[in-house]
């Protein structure tokens, strides 16, 4: 529902009247008449009311231009709370280029970044060369330039020693079935001399021992 120009003018006039009345009732105006204010004379503002500044005079209030009536539809407001609020999409703000003088100043002014113990531990767990790491002196603080340097694929000084290549476990390849088949006949092949029953050596009797002792050296 659009407001008509007469209603707008009337509302403006009412607003101006309220402002005038408030100005006359304001503590500053009262203070001109009396230095002290009673509690009843203190203006109590509600939450929605703004502290009135010095109200403009009637001469200072500009007259509503005639083209206001033409622009009125542009400030139409949704009278119904159920009506969807139309919000025009806001174009993203593109960051502007960094001022050259700012970058030049930041390049020569390093900032200190303290490495937390957590980061140190994390670095330790990833360190594969503790011996080379131990040669380095601890650096609790590091001066990092604001403008990061381009990363290089070179190894850090802590990794001066070449990595040790651990031997990979050798997984034996399964023997082909042909190998077992070829070995089977060999496993079962047995000379005829071994097919006989293997008998334990007969223990010597006392007769054998005594006879041998009395005939020792005789063929």
């Amino acid at each position: 529902m659009a407001l008509t120009s007469e209603e707008q003018i009337r509302k403006l006039e009412e607003m101006l009247a309220r402002m005038e009345s408030r100005r006359q009732e304001s503590p500053a105006a009262k203070a001109e008449e009396t230095d002290e204010l009673s509690d009843d004379e203190v203006l109590v503002l509600t939450e929605n009311e703004e502290i009135p500044s010095e109200a403009p005079s009637e001469e200072e209030i500009p007259e509503i231009p005639e083209e206001f009536e033409e622009r009125a539809p542009a400030i139409e407001m949704a009278a119904s709370p159920a009506a969807p609020l139309e919000i025009e999409p806001v174009a993203p703000v593109e960051p502007g280029p960094v001022a050259p003088e700012f970058l030049a100043r930041a390049a020569v002014t390093p900032i200190e970044v303290r490495v937390s113990p957590v980061a140190e531990n994390l670095e330790t767990t990833l360190d594969l060369y503790p011996a080379a790491k131990a040669k380095e002196s601890p650096k609790p603080t590091r001066a990092l330039p604001l403008v990061p340097e381009p990363r290089t694929p070179e190894r850090p000084s802590a990794m001066a020693e070449p990595p040790v290549t651990l031997p990979q476990p050798v997984v034996p390849e399964p023997l082909p079935r042909a190998a077992f088949e070829a070995a089977a006949p060999i496993a079962h092949a047995r000379p005829a001399a071994f097919e006989g029953e293997i008998r334990p050596r007969k223990p010597r009797t006392i007769g054998d021992i005594l006879r041998s002792a009395s005939r020792i050296g005789k063929k």
């Binding site: 007769g207 006879r211 002792a213 020792i216 050296g217």
Partner: protein, 200 residues
Amino acid sequence: MNKLKIDPEGYFRFDLEKGDLSYRDGGRLLAYPFEALRKVLETGLGSIRKTLPYSIGLHLGEECGRRVKSALGADFMDSDTSPEQFLAHLNAVLALHGLGMVSLETWGEALLVDWQIEPAAALHVVEFQEGVLAGVLSAATGEPFEAASVDEDGKSMRFLAGSTAIVDMTKIWLGEGCGLGEIVDRLHAGRHLETRGRVE
């Protein structure tokens, strides 16, 4: 298998009414004091100084050997009687006569008898002990056995047992300073048969 067939309680029989001491199965005995025997053996009698102790020991040994053979069986030499069985019965008989205990060693074909010093060897009459062993082995086996003392270590005396030719040559080689190992090697090589004429 190793059950002892010699009963110690019935080995001797004392007939106090007659004053007789004998084996239960026959054969008189004379309980002769050990010290008295030692004095006789040490004194000797002239030319038979060495042969008398040997003869006393030989006959005593023969009596013991017969009883071992009787306990094991007349054909024990041809049976599967183990050396342990033979030794158990031999020691039982020797112990009943107060002659101590022996053990057997085989060095190849050679047979050595290890005889404990106490009590019998305490006589320190080698000929007596050699006679006992010769009598025991000969009577038990039916083979001619002799014994020669070859070693003594303070706890026992070691004797080499064998035929007469073996024992005679062993004594000669011992006199030449040969050790037991070398003597056994020579016996296995038949050296005693080559030089048999020297001792006969």
